[in-house]
Amino acid sequence: MKRMGDFLLSQDPVSEIVIGNTAVVRAMIETGVRVVTSYPGSPTPEIAGAIGAINLDKRPFYFEFSVNEKVATEVAFGASVNGHLSCVFFKSVGLNVAADTFVQLGLMELIGGMVIILGDDPGANSSQNEQDNRHFSRLSYIPLLEPATPTEVYQMFKEAVLISREKKMPVILRMSTHVCHAKEKISFQAMQLQKSSDEPLFSPENGPYIPLTSKALNMKRKALQKWAFVKELSNESVFNVEERFQPKKGFSTDKVSINIDTQKTRKRGVITAGVPYLSLKDVLEEVTDKPDILKLGFVNPLPADKIIRFLKGHQEVKVLEELDDFLEQEIKRLAFEQEIPVRIIGKTDIEDWIGEYTPDKVREVMAKTWKDFPQPAAEDQERPKIDPRPPQMCPGCGHRSAFYAIKKALDENDITVADIGCHTLGALEPYNIGQVLLCMGHSNGTAAGLSLFNKKRRVVSFLGDSTFFHAGIPGIINAIYNNHNHTLIIMENGTTAMTGHQEHPATGKNFNEITQKIPLRQVLEGLGVKDIQEVDTYSQKKLTEAVKKAMNKEGFNVLIAKHPCMLKFTRDQRRAGKNIPNPVQIGEKCNRTYECISEFACPTFQITPDGTVWVQEDLCIGDRSCMQTCPVQAIEPTMKKGGDL
């Protein structure tokens, strides 16, 4: 393999095994994208990983992690109305944050073109819900293309750029989790790196760009006129493909062989798109009498003519789509308008609305649809049981030390409000800190509401440092402005840890360079927070006392519980060729109180069947934050040669 940065820039045709998130970067470069923005969120951060693999001096476009998805969208928009082809990418729920900006984009003349990459997460693999963002496409008159494979990611991004530039309108490329993370060998085409103009082309004449009442409706009219154009494009698009099954030949996509007259007698068809299409193809490997397939790449607007033809050509059509009945509604509408006598089978029960359409899921859905499809096998009841293994904080994590200490300061009745980040894991056993969670930055608003009329139960909110900048600040200002009564604990680990250690405004670095640091404490002081404490989370006793003090005060106050992310720290140490400290050991003093296991719960501490505690040396990073938790000081440093903290 060539280095990722090299093959992404290769001017010759090149083949590589890549994930969808890498493939899209090659497409950005080939199409001459000038500005790319984002806020980190699964399943998309590896797009930035691929961008970062290209040295800054060779990178053909500007990239930034903005402070949140809304700002990222605005930066990309600003670049586009100035004539630069731009792209913004973020996770599914990131679109909720960006929505205020996003819904306006369809009304604007985006002279440079703009592609929005949505990393949707069916199955909620790493999100707080599995929302179906196809609805946003309908809401905002922004076309949506949906690739099924990394190869299609590469091809459809280029298609999205063509449409966007031609009609000066935004286009969505919806990549779900297992499109972002699926890998396959892709043959990338040759490319000519074009020299782009830096000329600022912004002019109100290109717009209008100010949607005052008098203009807003006309702007909407223009958006709908563009929509009519894209509808035609969808009808002609090579990404909407009919596959017709013939028993001896298999599936054929040959246009000549698919003709309306010969389709009259055909019985069954399936309309599908994206990942469910691939799963269906897997299931069909086991089916003799295979249905025809209409595979959609244009999910909105739909190719009405192709769908009508497909409906007319079949007696029964199954609409196979994950999450909501987005395609089903539109397809049923078309059938009704055209008075097509076809049986359309959409979602049949609640389970059809839930979860990712993996091959297993599609097997279940199709078994309910047609009886000759493989039916679920009886479960083998004799298999040994094994409990799930949810994610947990890493060995040495400053948050573990914090939660251990904070718990000692809390009463059972206290209400703990979680936010998004690695510290959300505090909600799990044995800490159980964090009882309610909505979304990024919600904690101070929610905590304020919980504190109203509430004289009996204290309220404490949590917030990570990247989330502080992302969406946390308005809730803090509100708490000060409206005199709310709760304690905020900011879990500062100096990075955006959960999504892969991206920088944030307090770290003094952005994606490209050293930059001005914006320390949290200074921001809080500037906002007018009078009462701020700051404690290193490894100082557990001090932290417990600080929390007690904070929570017994009236009004709003802030405690910054800080310790650098130790996963990042140990990785940086290893990369720099430095040793990490020796693991700890359990000394003879151990009297089996199990505080290290049942309360502190670092995964390093394990237990033999006879109850002896042992240290899993593959896990321990020698951070020694555990030593203070043992009531009999049985956790000891080892004296072997090693690095020091």
Partner: protein, 195 residues
């Protein structure tokens, strides 16, 4: 060969991603079609992580189906049982590195640690070939994935994929000292197994 499905699992931090990339590239070097998918994101933090690798002309989705894997590879004992339970076909093959990273429930004493005998008993009940791998005195826990890949290679558990393909895949993925150390370890395991 029409298709061959491999399911890999372990605990976040064990190096499943690299092992998966290594196997996928070895298959590619053998001239066979390969697709797959890895776990990224939050689950990597000490949770169960899985990778899917599918080879052959008749595979479409990047994800292996439940009870359909021809080969399960795991880097941890509990995850080996889970992989075998959830993904492995009866009569297929399980290769696991016998590291124990106890899940929380085991550490808290609410459930028992999985012992090797349970895995071997369950494997025989289902006609599965279960290979336990453990290398004494390994320089680095992060090299356990290389040991496992060497055992897979030596036993030709992946059709048409041999030592040359694995070594080429390492050439693709590693540089400098890391490449030298890992290739040396790989060769030594393959040769040791031969004796």
């Amino acid at each position: 060969m029409n298709q061959f499905d491999i399911y890999l699992s372990g605990v976040g931090g064990q190096g499943i991603g690299l092992l998966s990339e290594l196997i996928a590239r070895a298959i590619d070097h053998s001239g066979q079609r390969v697709i797959g998918a890895d776990t990224h994101g939050l689950a990597q933090r000490g949770g169960m992580v899985a990778s899917h690798i599918r080879m052959g002309q008749t595979v479409h989705s990047a994800l292996v189906g439940k009870n359909r894997a021809d080969l399960c590879v795991s880097l941890e004992r509990h995850e080996a049982l889970r992989a075998m339970n959830d993904y492995l076909k009866d009569g297929a093959t399980l290769v696991y590195y016998d590291a124990v990273w106890q899940p929380l429930d085991v550490r808290m004493g609410t459930t028992k640690q999985i012992e090797n005998v349970l895995i071997s008993d369950e494997a025989s009940r289902r006609g599965i070939t279960a290979i336990r791998v453990f290398e004494e005195g390994l320089q680095e826990a992060r090299m356990q994935n290389i040991v496992v890949s060497a055992v897979i290679c030596k036993n030709s558990f992946i059709p048409g994929v041999n030592q040359k393909h694995f070594l080429s895949a390492m050439d693709d993925l590693m540089r400098g000292e890391m490449l030298v150390d890992n290739q040396r370890l790989f060769r030594s395991i393959v040769e040791k197994e031969q004796k």
